[in-house]
Symmetry: C2
Subunit: 265 residues, 2 copies
DNA sequence: AATCGTGTTTCATATTATGAAATAATTGTA
DNA sequence: TACAATTATTTCATAATATGAAACACGATT
């Protein structure tokens, strides 16, 4: 059995002797905002797992509360334990702990929402968000992912990730609006400019009417581990405000970087 | 090998053939607000796993981003992928989707924070929170857990969980304040009263100066799947306001229940 | 230099995960 | 109502995969 289908299909060879865990996580990662509920067969198919194997792994995940079933449809969903662990993960994120007070003052100064984001593959993950009017809470979309090439933060992170050589461009640059940069060549030029200026701007690139300005956060090893941004409607974040806002974003990013042990030079 | 140490130690026999997954999840569950970072040896010890096994499983989790390492200390932490999954889990929670608008109006009407919580073992998990001043965001402690017997929501859920026979009392009733109910007999009487009245109040039981009022949310199978609450400082939530607030909390809970398919009678 | 405490790698072993096939449950269709 | 057709479970022989003892490497602290 086990017709050695394709062990080398997955790029992350990781560590031998953990097939079951890797597969279980693959199942968990299949759940998304777009498809939060799966039937067994389609989920097994989507993860390229044997139906029985998927069932067994899901049963284990369900027993631990990471996955729960819709009593009506019988479909699988992420469970409450996942919510709990995500909360713990977020609260224990050292980057977030350092950044939060800085993000709060930034958001209040500019009176627009500020975010902290990291690069995960070809997407940016919103690690924290402080909305200007509600400085104590965190926005709904913490934990959301967005296509990196269509966001200011993502462009910053991609620009500095590939600083040494060629930037690791996502294979497919999906178009979000007519302003989204989908040409790899133009995007490479954009990255060059971002590295020179030290910040990125995205106007209508993710969503029509949405403007964002982002700057990189460096750790003590001088790698861009995150990016912060100010984002809001173009009606408020007008062109004449950009120089001022850009300066504030860059200043905040430098402050966070310094608190992470980064030293310019 | 595998000196069959104690396969029956864990209560959840779950499904055979998923040892590795169950162990990996045990590792993940070890991370908490109190101890967000672990060394390999202590984590292996805490989860009763062989050091090598723990290392291998953690490597797999790390490769998938569920766990990350502190580059300085080498310690293990929950990773960013965990944040992402938690966010997805929360946003896809059907209970939360139904409750949120109701919680928002409740919070605004009373002008205090409202929460949605579910019972996980002997603790309540905060699934959602709407703070009165910041109605759009969600509070920091979504995903946090609190001892059920010391909270209004927890008491409600325990009272209705054991409705049929004896209530499933947590084995150790930890004392949070001098008002915390730690006597099982008194707690049982409290549950009886809660079932009769249809709501629970907790004054200074979790934290001195903190008052909360909770009511149960029923699904279409008439089981109390969650509880909602209003909570705030005793200085604002005074005794004379309780009747009014209690009514609003109960009304909101009934509305959510009805939207879940519950029909009274 | 030496000892202790970490984390990491190796490797023989058989326990444990595996998937084909059979069965049960559910749904849609004649 | 019976009959397909689809999905979810269970069973079970098989060996691939997870396992843990032991050896190793590395960095502290003495």
């Amino acid at each position: 059995m086990l017709h050695l289908q394709d062990a080398e299909l997955h790029t992350n060879e990781a560590y031998p002797g953990t097939q079951a865990v890797a597969r279980a996580i693959a199942l968990l990662k299949a759940f998304s905002d777009a498809q939060p509920e799966w039937g067994l067969r389609e989920l097994a198919q989507a993860t390229a797992l044997n139906k029985t194997t998927a069932f067994r792994l899901l049963s284990a995940l369900e027993a631990e509360g990471l996955v729960m079933r819709n009593p009506l449809s019988g479909g699988y969903r992420l469970g409450v334990e996942m919510v709990a662990m995500g909360g713990t993960a977020m609260r224990s994120n050292p980057l977030r702990a350092v950044s939060r007070p800085n993000l709060e003052t930034l958001a209040q100064t500019v009176d627009e929402a500020s975010t902290l984001e990291v690069l995960v593959g070809s997407q940016v993950l919103i690690v924290d968000e402080v909305s200007s009017r509600h400085p104590m809470g965190m926005s709904q979309d913490v934990g959301s992912r967005l296509p990196a090439h269509a966001t200011a933060t993502g462009k910053v992170l991609l620009a500095y990730a590939g600083e040494g050589g060629s930037a690791p461009l996502p294979s497919s640059l999906v178009r979000m609006t007519e302003k989204t940069i989908v040409d790899p060549v133009i995007l490479a030029l954009e990255f060059e400019q971002i590295r020179q200026r030290g910040y990125a701007v995205a106007v209508d690139e993710l969503e029509l009417g949405f403007v964002a300005i982002a700057a990189p956060v460096f750790d003590r090893e001088r790698v861009a581990v995150a990016a912060i941004s100010i984002g809001g409607p173009g009606l408020r974040l007008t062109a004449d405000r950009l120089p001022e806002v850009t300066g504030l974003v860059q200043m905040t990013a430098r402050q966070i970087s310094r608190q992470l042990g980064y030293w310019p030079g």
